[in-house]
């Protein structure tokens, strides 16, 4: 075995780190930037991009609130407003919320699992580029006045060829295809990473709750995205080549779209929400100084939520005239979702009781999460009831409801998590003062903006209107909502300023500044390209709170990229597995794919012609390199 260097007693400390750094560091300069397959680089990039779309989506919401601040306002034309609200929903759901949750996981999960890179790192790079091109397609289209304008839910036949002429909807539908490819790729990587790349000893019952949340989320993505892939594909076929999937005359069915879309889009809400519960669990654990109680109940709650989320999509369709017995089932199923959610809420609160809470900014976000998310959850219970939903459906009550669920339930934990992991990302601690100021502005602004919407909705104001008549009792409440959005924007600016100011300071964060228990805090802040000099070994659910130094395992190659694969349940060392080098082919493949997808908006022949460059790029990417295959662990 000459020429093969492995870490161990003979090779440790600075020399090991130097050699590992040479092996794992991406190529320097622009080339390295384009070819990197490091999960941290890609995760960071993903987060930046997704946060950029959060900002863009928020700008759109400001535009909408300006228009809606006064009745019969002529600020924005209806055609433009319809584009704006469509872009807001689409950007927030497809370009921000789901990607950012995946992005955080791409960054954190390999660290938390104690491994050196994510599974399928080239696929990971490919996924990012695909996501980026899809997002750019949508936004360039919007800037060029070909933004979609039929709502982010794109109900047929409004989105069909007759009522949405031009390429607006095609751009939307192809953007979906891009994000589907990206999302499925990440879900597969994360599932594989969590199941096979865990540190030795991290059996499933010692896995952090965040990892559980991501595992369930990833499986949900794998199960639900094909539904939207199917329906957006059918929509494109209807629009481009004149198929009749959604033409009611030819026995196509507009409701088919709704079934397929919501079969994806309802789980999507949980795809956004479950990682957020993972954030909350990690933050609660760290800032109460004890593990979340009733670990099995928490895990079961996460799994149950994932499971139930596939049985509730029809509650978006209570007004479509489906059979009443079916409605009863979906009412019951939707009500049942409240049970696992309430279990999690209880466990977090009980953990606060049993622990010693510290009021750092991340913890404040958790408190805000509980205060707001529970409102959203309970209004969700209301809209599960058919008689109540038939009054609330498509009104501002529902707007309030899902913003409480998605902002309260996902964005607040996300902001908390960003603050929490910021030292890990950047090696610097965010300012607590500015952080708390931003928190209070966002929290108060959010409630000022969205709580009145419950009332406007109950007063009869429908959603998705570009304006509304005066004297309906909606004027003042709408003005209040608009003011609230202004306050949120202020808070957002403070948050950004905090980040900007912090990034100007030198790196000073310790590896584990919050005294957290999970493995990512065992790596340096920010982590080196190889994450850990030695593979850590885990003996409990809170490895960093154990006495003594973190036990490690040695024997991985340092002269070549090698990972340790462990068994799926008990995480016993199984095989050593080569991890690929950086390469340009994922980027080139993504470019070829983008050319195919974008070309297909204009002519179906693009699908045929575009296959050739894509095939070449894939061939180059997958060409066997003759590198050593996985070998079993000998020790």
């Amino acid at each position: 075995m000459t020429g093969i260097a492995r870490d161990g007693e003979a090779l440790k400390g600075a020399e090991l780190e130097g050699r590992l750094d040479r092996t794992w560091r991406p190529a320097p300069g622009l080339w390295g930037w384009l070819t990197t397959v490091d999960h941290k680089d890609i995760g960071r990039r993903y987060i930046y991009t997704a946060m950029t779309f959060l900002i863009l989506g928020s700008i759109l919401s400001v535009a909408m609130r300006l228009q809606l601040a006064r009745p019969e306002s002529g600020l924005i034309s209806p055609a433009r407003y319809n584009q704006i609200f469509t872009m807001h929903g689409t950007t927030m759901m497809f370009l921000f919320a789901v990607p950012v949750m995946e992005a955080a996981a791409i960054y954190v999960i390999p660290l938390m699992m104690g491994t050196r890179n994510i599974a399928f790192p080239r696929l990971n790079a490919f996924s990012y580029w695909t996501y980026l091109f899809g997002a750019l397609l949508l936004w360039v289209g919007f800037v060029l006045n070909v933004g979609p304008d039929a709502g982010w839910f794109m109900y047929t036949p409004l989105s069909g060829p007759q009522f949405s002429p031009g390429k607006r909807t095609d751009i939307w539908a192809q953007m979906i295809t891009f994000t589907e490819v990206a999302g499925l790729a990440v879900a597969i990587e994360l599932t594989a990473t969590i199941l096979k790349f865990r540190a030795p000893g991290m059996s499933l019952n010692r896995m952090p709750l965040y990892a559980w949340a991501i595992l369930v989320t990833s499986i949900m993505i794998i199960l639900s995205l094909p539904a939207v892939a199917l329906c957006s594909g059918m929509l494109i076929a209807d629009r481009l080549i004149g198929t009749q999937f959604f033409n009611p005359f030819e026995h196509g069915d507009p409701l088919l779209w709704q079934h397929l879309f919501w079969f994806f889009a309802h789980p999507e809400v949980y795809i956004i929400f479950l990682p957020a519960t993972g954030f909350v669990s990690q933050i609660v654990e760290t800032f109460t100084g004890r593990p979340v109680i009733a670990y099995p109940a928490m895990v079961l709650a996460v799994v149950a939520t994932g499971f139930l989320s596939f049985g509730v999509w029809v509650h978006h369709m209570f007004a479509t005239g489906l059979p009443r017995l079916g409605y009863d089932f979906y009412t019951a199923a939707t009500m049942a979702v409240a049970i696992p959610a309430s279990i999690q809420i209880f466990c977090w609160i009980a953990t606060m009781w049993l622990g010693k809470p510290r009021y750092a900014t991340p913890f404040l976000y958790v408190i805000a999460f509980i205060v707001t998310f529970v409102i959203g959850g309970l209004s969700g219970v209301m809209v599960a009831s058919v008689p109540l939903d038939l009054q609330f459906h498509d009104t501002y009550f529902v707007v309030a409801h899902f913003h409480y669920v998605l902002v309260g339930g996902a964005v607040f934990p996300l902001l908390g998590a960003l603050t929490y992991w910021f030292p890990k990302f950047s090696g610097r601690m965010l300012s607590e003062g500015l952080g708390k100021l931003a928190f209070w502005l966002i929290f108060l602004g959010f409630n000022i903006a969205f709580f009145p919407m419950h009332i406007t909705g109950m007063l009869g104001m429908p959603r998705r209107v570009y304006t509304y008549p005066a004297n309906m009792g909606w004027d003042g409440l709408n003005m209040l909502s608009s003011i609230g959005v202004g306050v949120i924007v202020l808070g957002g600016l403070v948050f950004l300023a905090n980040v900007a100011l912090t990034l100007r300071r030198p790196r000073d964060a310790a590896p584990n500044p919050w005294n957290a228990a999970s493995l990512e805090w065992a790596a340096a802040s920010p982590p080196p390209p190889y994450n850990f000099p030695h593979v850590p070994v885990v003996r409990s659910a809170t490895p960093l709170w154990e006495q003594g130094p973190l036990p490690v395992m040695t024997g991985l190659r340092v002269d070549d990229r090698e990972l340790l694969i462990t068994t799926a349940i008990d995480a016993r060392p199984d095989i050593r597995y080569p991890s690929p080098e950086g390469t340009i082919w994922p980027l080139l493949s993504a470019i070829a794919l983008a050319a195919l997808f974008i070309g297909s908006i204009f002519t179906p022949w693009a699908v045929v012609i575009g296959l050739a460059p894509l095939g070449v790029a894939f061939l180059a990417w997958f060409w066997p390199k003759g590198s050593p295959t996985a070998e079993p662990v000998i020790e």
Binding site: L144, V146, P165, K167, D238, G242, N247, T603
Partner: protein
């Protein structure tokens, strides 16, 4: 190049792009051109000679705008055009989806035909449709014979398809049968 200069250039490029992409705009008001028809009111048609009418700037604007074309599609059905011309195949009126144009196939000529009517039965729609509607219709009529840019067209309306019926029975040639079993002529 100074950064300011670069920014200006970028802004210019962006403006150029923006102006190029109005063809999906839902322009509910008519084009900002005086609303006059492109041809003299009396017909200048001559048998066998394609009528040359003055080019109208609106022709391209309407033909390249997918919204205007879809409004034309709506009017085509609502104004009963499809009653005579079917979905381009024709019936009481001539086919519109072939390459033959009795009275000219340019946007301007089609608008003139809609406006003035034609002697063999095409009624005059002057005063029944606005000029904007005639332009929209003309754009759609031209799309029936796939003349405008393909990316402006819609693939199909939400209507009964005009393609071959799904329930079409066998298309095998049928030989006339005679119950006595005799085929052909007895000469």
């Amino acid at each position: 190049m100074s950064s300011r200069c670069r920014a200006r250039l970028a802004a210019l490029a962006a403006l150029a792009l923006l102006s190029a992409c109005d063809r999906e705009e839902r322009q509910s008001r008519a084009q900002p051109v005086p609303e006059t028809l492109p041809t003299p009111r009396q017909s200048i048609l001559q048998p066998g000679v394609p009528a040359r009418t003055a080019a109208d700037p609106r022709a391209r604007a309407y033909e390249n705008n997918s919204y205007q074309m879809s409004q034309g599609q709506l009017l085509y059905q609502k104004m009963n055009c499809s009653g005579c011309h079917a979905h381009g195949g024709g019936g009481m009126g001539p086919a519109l989806s072939d390459a033959e144009w009795r009275y000219g196939g340019s946007m301007e000529e089609i608008v003139a035909t809609i406006d003035q009517g034609r002697p063999n039965g095409m009624p005059s729609w002057r005063g029944k449709l606005t000029e904007q509607q005639m332009w929209q219709l003309a754009a759609y009529v031209r799309s029936l014979s796939a003349q405008p840019r393909q990316d402006v067209l819609s693939s199909r309306p939400d209507a009964p398809s005009s393609t071959e019926p799904a329930t079409l029975q066998s298309r095998q040639p049928v030989v006339p049968s005679s119950p006595a079993g005799v085929q052909g002529t007895s000469r």
